[in-house]
């Protein structure tokens, strides 16, 4: 019977330098997973590589051998022993469930990880390195992750200033494609928020007191540079303005915004003021169709998002426990299946052999219809005889008695191990 082993490094166990060394790019993933599958003792393998984690899910008959092989793989790529974690069997399955459900992520509830694991599984499948254990595990883990996302609030709320900015901008404008984002200043948080908006299709303009700096930042982030004197005009044409200058007074005052709104013909304007002291006159937020958020607002929303996630996390853990329990039962039922199948084959083959012998001698006068009826009767008898022991074995798959009963049955009826075909019945 194959055992599951997970070995890897992630954002909690290893610094970024180590994660960089073991990182695998998307183009090389197929080849690397094939090389893992080729290691001693590994029958199935799959490799998940993201910026926060690189981990291998593998299966083999000897869990010790598989673990040694996987640790060796990570050592070879430059991750020393102290950074590795390892999970086996049900603990490994539980880890897979948590990863897919984004409970093991740096930002709990982030949606990307599920897609990344799905991609890793697809690459492994396409490379022919997965088998029944990993395929079943991943199907269950994806199902569990879907339940967590739909039945808990794990995906609600925001977790960073950048994601709050994107969420808000989408709530105001919908699709951000073609909308203009203006960054005033050179604060890292402002540029991070602007980058997130640009990733969602917005166009970037950078305004700075130093035009040279604006040009440099615009080149770095794929935008257009403007001198500070262009700001009133940009307020008319931009949709989102992210302010983060070191100025000790307002860079954008209420009257400027009011004047810009006339030119905007009522189009909404979203102002994000990340600077301390503030760069935007707070009274600007009272204007119609102007939405002003300062750093306190954003941090409050971030913290609300985090606390919402904490509550949702407990609900998510409950869902995962249910799903893991279902997976465990399924695995144990599958362990009992070979014994039950072998037992049925043995009984049926023996009964049919005896019937054939009788049909060839004392019952050879019977018509084909009578013979057929006898075969049906033999099958029904075998089914009825084995119904009670089969049900009892299935009912005990979760218990040590179940495993013992399986072993006893194997020994008493000389059943073959695993999936090997049963021996010919005695003639």
């Amino acid at each position: 019977m194959s055992s599951l082993v997970v070995v890897g490094v992630n954002h909690r166990t290893a610094p970024v330098e180590t994660r960089e060394r073991v990182a695998v790019d998307a183009d090389g993933l197929g080849d690397v997973v094939k090389s893992v599958r080729g290691l001693d003792g590994v029958r199935e393998a799959m490799l998940v590589a993201t910026c926060n984690r690189v981990e291998v899910y593998a299966a083999g008959d000897d869990a010790e051998a598989v673990t040694r092989a996987l640790r060796g793989f990570f050592h070879q790529r430059g991750a020393s022993e102290q950074y590795l974690y390892e999970h086996r069997g049900e603990a490994g399955a539980g880890h897979a469930f948590r990863v897919c459900a984004s409970l093991d992520s740096l930002v709990v509830g982030e949606p990307q990880i599920l897609g990344q694991v799905k991609e890793a599984w697809q690459v492994a499948r396409a490379s022919g390195t997965t088998g029944p254990l990993l395929n079943r595990l991943m199907a269950r883990a994806f199902q569990a992750a879907k339940r967590v996302r739909t039945e808990t609030g794990i995906a609600n709320g925001q977790v960073s200033v950048a994601s709050v900015a994107v969420d808000l901008a989408r709530g105001i404008f919908g699709d951000l494609t073609g909308h203009r984002v203006i960054v005033v200043g050179a604060g890292k948080m402002a540029l991070g928020a602007a980058r997130s908006l640009v990733r969602n299709g917005a166009l970037l303009a950078v305004v700075n007191r130093s035009y040279d700096k604006a040009v440099a930042l615009a080149q770095e982030h794929g935008g257009v540079a403007h001198p500070l004197t262009d700001l009133p005009l940009l307020l008319q044409h931009g949709d989102v303005v992210v302010c983060s200058t070191g100025a000790a007074r307002y860079v954008i005052n209420r009257d400027e915004v009011a004047a810009a709104m006339k030119g905007r013909r009522g189009r909404s304007l979203f102002l994000i003021d990340i600077a301390v002291p503030r760069n935007v006159d707070p009274r600007a937020g009272d204007l119609d169709n102007v939405y002003l958020y300062n750093v306190d607002d954003l941090e409050r929303i971030v913290s609300e998002g985090t606390s919402t996630r904490s509550a949702a996390k407990a609900a998510a853990e409950k869902v995962l426990a249910e799903e893991l329990d279902a997976y465990r039962r399924e695995q144990r039922t599958q362990q009992a299946t070979p014994v039950i199948t072998a037992l049925r084959q043995r009984f049926r083959a023996t009964a049919l052999a005896e019937l054939e012998r009788s049909l060839a001698k004392s019952l050879k006068h019977l018509t084909p219809d009578d013979r057929k009826a006898l075969e049906v009767m033999v099958d029904a008898t075998v089914n009825k005889l084995l119904h009670a022991p089969t049900a009892a074995l299935k009912a005990r798959v979760d218990t040590p008695e179940g495993a013992t009963a399986g072993e006893v049955l194997r020994e008493l009826f000389e059943l073959p191990d695993g999936s090997a075909p049963p021996p010919d019945p005695p003639r």
Binding site: N156, G171, F173, R265, G266, S268
Partner: protein, 267 residues
Amino acid sequence: MPPELLAATYYGATALYAAAGVALVAHLAGTTRRPSALAWGVRLLTAAAALHGLHEALRWGATLGPPSGLGAALSVLALLGVTGFLVVRRTQPRLDVTGAFVAPLTLLLLVASRVSAERPAGHLGGAVLALHVASVLTGTAAFTLAFVMALAYLLQERQVKKKRLGGVFQRLPPLDVLDAVGYRCVAVGLPALTLGNVTGLFVGARGAGAVVWQQYVGMGAWVLFAGVLVLRLAAGWRGRRAAIGTILGYASALVVLAGYYAGSPSP
């Protein structure tokens, strides 16, 4: 036409609208985390509209004519409004959640249609009068949708202004989408209401011989909606002000409709 069949389709549609309203409002308010609540709400609303349509068809078949009383007019108005929503949502699936406003409003109109007195059929003779009724109903149905978008806009705008980015903010469509759809509904409804007002002058002149008060209210509603459009085009009136103007215009349009059927002398 067996009256039991009319009653059955009416009560069936009412029950389905109520169920759709419960599902959609629960989804918008976040009292259910089941993602299927929205989909079920829209399905129930579609089924309710189908049954409602059957009810109207049966009634028209029985009376051999268009709505002939305030009750029937409200019922047709509700049907046109919900049908318009089901058509518009196909182009903007994010609008599905605004069904949380459409379903209760439709239910309200349908219930009101039952408690309002019917007039005997046949008094609405003449092409001008039929055109008048059809255009007023079509215009009011378009304004019903604009009204729904305006309500949703004001609710969403309040979330953004008050910095409440919880479930309601997440579930409602973006402000710009609500504003744009509301604008299109007004743009469609206004020509219809214009035609309704013009033909109303002829109907009024033929009936009472003078312009009746309902026609003044009708013109008032027309002015409000036209104002929303003109101010939007000329002065860039958008967002909150446009939404409030739309709501006032809709209320006036309902007064016209109610006044026409409830108080005006038979033409």
